[in-house]
Amino acid sequence: MSSSRLEILNDGGLRHDARRPYELRSTSFSLGTHPTADGSSTVTQGLTSVSVTVFGPREPKQRAGVTHDRASIVVEVGVALWAGTGAQRRTRGDKRLMEVGAAIRQTFEPVIMTQLYPRSEIFINVQVISADGGILPSSINATTLALIDAGISLLDYVTSVSIGLHLTQPLLDLSAPEENDLPTLVVASLPGSGKITLAQMETRLHVDRFEEMLLLGVEAG
């Protein structure tokens, strides 16, 4: 079955994996999965599985990374070779991965109370163990849990979900085939305050639909 032939939403209102539009995939969260890290978690959403380890706050490895009044956040993203992201192997320096890393850093910079940990570094390592769409939202969810696990002070926890749009119908938590075919929006929000720390989209979309999707994303988070 080629993805061009995939029916995103069939007439029975079911998606290709038999979910309804607003249903998430089966999700499991586990904490403390990594014994040597200060905090760690594994989040599985469908066939996407992301493991995050957090080290710190600690002395920065590199002097350049020191900020005198707050902690700096360093994010590293790696994809396991068997993760199934298709033919291309993602190595550490890969631009896409750097972008995911940057998105995670930007999401958490305003949420982590960095001013409590001056001159230190919080190191977040994201490992994608298997990929089936929604790497970024899963990583953000996993990072939140790992940060909690590490006992780092947060303003609120962050939840994230991807939203796609098929014609006029928004879909939640996209799998890889859906992600290929649809305009995708990733929203990370703070459920406590209802604030949004990340809204990322790479395709063009109509403004009216955007609002609908954004609201839905916040609610889904």
């Binding site: 069939n10 007439d11 029975g12 079911l14 038999a18 309804r20 998430l24 089966s26 999700t27 199934g84």
Partner: protein, 1034 residues
Amino acid sequence: MRDFITILNPVLPSQSHHSSALLCNRPTPRDKPQTAFTGPPWQLQRPPGRVVKAAPPDHHPQAHQGRSAPVADKVPQEDGEGKGPQLERYVRDDIACGFEECQLCADFPGFKPVLPKRGYTLHTKFAAKEGHWLVIDTNVVLHQMDLLSALPLALPIIIPSTTIRETRHRSLPLHNRLQQLVQDEERKVWVWWNEESRDTATFQEEREEGKEGPNDRNDRAIRKTLQYYSEHLLSSAARPPQLVLLTDDKRNRELAHADGMLAVSTRDYVDGLDPKEREKLVDLVVGGVDEIEPGERRGRRLYDEYLPMDVLTAGVKTGRLYQGHFNASQYNYLEGTVRVPSLDKPVLLVGRQAMNRSVDGDVVLFEVVDGLIRAEALKDDDVEDDEGTGVDDKEKQKLAEEKMDVEDETKRKPKDVQPTGRVVGVIKRNWRAYVCHLDRSSLSAAALTSLSQQTVFATPLSRTLPRIRLRTRQAPQLIDQKILVTIDSWSPNSKYPDGHFVRALGKVESKEAEQESLLLEYEVPYRPFGRAILDCLPKEGETWKVPPKSADSLEWRDREDLRDLIVCSIDPPNCQDIDDALHARPLPNGNIEAGVHIADVSHFVHPANPMDSEAASRGTTVYLVDKRIDMLPHLLGTSLCSLRPYVERLAFSVIWELTPDGEIVKERFVKSVISSNEAFTYEAAQVRKDNKSLNDPLTNSIRLLNSLAIKLKEGRMRAGALSLSSPELKIHLDSAESAEPIDVEQKELRETNSLVEEFMLLANISVARKIQEVFPATAVLRRHAAPPKTNFEALNDLLVKRKGLELDVSSNGALARSLDACVDPERPEFNTLVRIMATRCMLSAEYFCSGSVSKEAYGHYGLASPIYTHFTSPIRRYADVLAHRQLAAAINYTSLHPSLQSKAHVDRILNNVNKRNRLAQMAGRASVEFYVGLALKSRNGGKTRADAFVIRTFRNGLAVFVSSLGLEGLITFSKDTHTFDPENYSIAIPSPKGDVAVAVFDKVVVEITVEKDANTQRGKVKMVLVEPVSSVGL
């Protein structure tokens, strides 16, 4: 290390029922009915023999609606042969069964009480009191679609999603027809999502002899559906209907029988139906199990097998093979052409072997063969005896006669030789249902009375198609009927394609049958509007009125009140869908304010509702001589939107300030309310304008408009606009009831025609500029590309040799001037003839999306405008509706619907509209032709003499054009006594007084008769030369 814990969705604290789900970390017993608010059942269902990569059981986080649907397990599905990414699939417990009495499924989303308690009972084999339901498999859909759509409405059918999915992969057109069937509210068709339901989800089984094939798996999935239903129904009905599996697969039936299910082949099922239904359906059954396998078919191979797909793709890649649409020739049934962009000339395919089973419209792959292959070898053995039919010699001769040797001209000079090719593969068949007649010659005398099944031939109406062989039991009834036949297959062993009968349209030459066959032949959607579409109309119906003006009224929001303007409409007589009205008044500064008011269709037709999609698929209103097939429901077209006089109507106005010389000073676009003062016909407006005694404001505004129109036209002509010509005829129908003809006359053009035209052009151009400016990527525009110079070569050669004239085709202005110079002082009609012939050399205008064409190519060649669109007839053209929406968004009246911002979407819609337009024009022309034929027949004994021009010469005949009837005809000479001079386009015809030369552009007199073709029952115009020399007996 901490304990391994499972965290549940920490969010959405408001949704209290989640708390119960929090603890639900244990499997729910499977037999417990799943209702909407229990926790998710986590019982893993593993495909046997494979390790499932499954998440630990946990809560399923629920989003949004707060309705915890019982989503169940996920099952990773392998893609193909274990390579490629895994796909996840969930199985659900909330799939509705559609049974009207079902107590278990009634609350599930999407439940509709479709399947009745009492099944279908009118069947001899399945005559149980509680009746039966049918379950169909994929092959039935793929091969018996015509049968399915003809089955009785009361017969409940369950379609498993496996069938739908497989159909979608195999054939999109059939999938669309299946969708129509499912959506038809009068039918009792229910889709069971068997793959998605926990109870019927099916996995590929590992067997001893290896993996289960996908076909076996699908068959098993469908059988499982039957099994499930029979168990499921017992829970809510004591005596549920029987379930019958309809399949043509013998093995599938056997397996079903082994499991105690009922299964039947289509042929047996139809045979067992109530005699009345059976009669209707029996011919629709295609082949079925009794058919001889293709390999066993007797007879020798007539055509080459197509090459295997991989050879074909490799051939295309290396450039050895070419791909293109096959166009069969109108003149010669054994010849066709394919146009390929990489070759500058179309490639000729001559003869059956070279055409190798391609049918007009197919996408074929072919190789270019050097030299000309002539069709001599195959020409004479038209129908073989072993196919049970014989064509008498007379017919053969006639067919040969009909074949005009169009190649002759091209063979003349070596440099003109067209490349020839041979089809080696077919990429895509574009077969549809064709209107046919039974070929009388294919019926033996005994067959005329026999009711047994027999093989007959059907001759399609269109000359470009081969005859189709079909099996029928009702040959005697069908003989005088027009029938619809589809092609099913064409094996290399058979000279003709095999098809099956779809339905009868009616008696040949009856109005209804002719009309319907015309609509079918040109694919005009003519079904009445469905309920969903009519529901989109305003509830008030005919009584809808513009509400009184008030600040909070929706209709009046941002609308200008133009009710006081003196507005009138000018249209052809009996026009009901008035979409434009005009006004003009002098301004104090000496300029003139002129306005075009177009019916505000977009106020009623909202984007993406059923009415809009229907209009988009119809594309245009089709005008036939005696019928109009509307694009929008009658209520809108002729009442609510129509700018009738003396009532208030919503309009979209374009208002200009023009100098008296027709220069635009200012233009603005506004939604408005107008009240038309009068609806004129062209004639009435002309009379009113010319009546010097009248001096009222309305008359004056017409005069003002007229003076501006003259200026505008001058400006346009200066810019190089062409005035082209194509004969427009008017058909007089005697009366509505008899509709017996009739007379034909050419349409008269008045000054007021030009008045309306100029303002419509001006409005279209202004709107085009505006929407292109605001939406540079997706504006709906219309263009007319400049024709390539080579198109005029043939015509110019004719003109130079015959008349010593030449057309200058360097630009549209130059062409317009040289067309004006093409006059023959003795024969005023000559100029019109040249214009008609020049028009045929041009390309046709088309709609396009501004973003998909470079800006230089926007121009309209014929109108000499750099940009153009259609805005002025939204009632009858869909492109105008889109332009209205874009203009409304451009002036910030509404926001633009997202679909109109997607280039791909606009492109797709416009492609369809272009196609519909083309077909609608052809249908209109064919309808005129039919009536011209009737008129000719009724005129003095069926014989008409008329002046005609020779427009083309062939080796064995002439093509003439009768301008008074807009009719083109062929005159063939079967005896070889004439001499053909291809250099000078002339034929010397022997007569008692010596040879008389007839050449292109000569005026001749022809006698026109309509005769009935004995085989096809098709009325055919036949022409015979009368002057300067009689061709009778030649």
